[in-house]
Symmetry: C2
Subunit: 141 residues, 2 copies
Amino acid sequence: MENPESQELEVVLANEGFYRAFESLNIREMEQVWATDRAVKCVHPGWELRSGWPDVRDSWVSIFNNTRKIKFEVSQVDTVINQAFAWVTCTEHVTAVMDGEAQTFQILATNLYLKRESRWLMVHHHGSPVLGRLPVEKGPA
Amino acid sequence: MENPESQELEVVLANEGFYRAFESLNIREMEQVWATDRAVKCVHPGWELRSGWPDVRDSWVSIFNNTRKIKFEVSQVDTVINQAFAWVTCTEHVTAVMDGEAQTFQILATNLYLKRESRWLMVHHHGSPVLGRLPVEKGPA
């Protein structure tokens, strides 16, 4: 049984690995960090759910094909581990060149990892844009 | 040890319970379905992360105060259970009267539940708007 600190470090490193794979814009790098089975899912900001590795993989290929360069600064990384399951939330500060235009934006992400044969593999990524407020919100509560 | 089918049914019922609590627009109902501790988190569509029950609770109070009526049809419910941890994705078809105006929209949700003393309690809700396409996407992949 590993100690909790080393488990958490493993998950934090897996989460960093996901963003390095994203920055690489290389589908083979991205494939390394996912569980690549039927149970995996992915929600890109504003997109519909992608379910199962082939469909999730296609979504990454589509993003990589339309992105010339992307950099992530990831903050507020919070990790909860329950047995072989890890739940991570973080804020992505993204700088990207997409469709020939430089953009910066913030994304809130929920990332789930499953430990298999001593490796933490991504099983779910849910990213959503931070717009500052929801239509129903009058202001900060 | 419970059988997998009854575990899954429990989680599906917990997820339905969350949407019934949301429809009630009553913070006491919502409080019943959450783990109400420091580890819970919530991302409402477009909002920043709310962390810890007091902050998550405030966000619900803010939404409930600005919503006169809300109804959910929930589809594509998919459940993965790993020990005492459950990960649910679903599509919310929402009809709401907010700020005096009727609206319909779709939200993609990632809902996480933890089993405590035989009850599945929500520990994380991440909802994001389905916009149809992401700025970087050229079209369906």
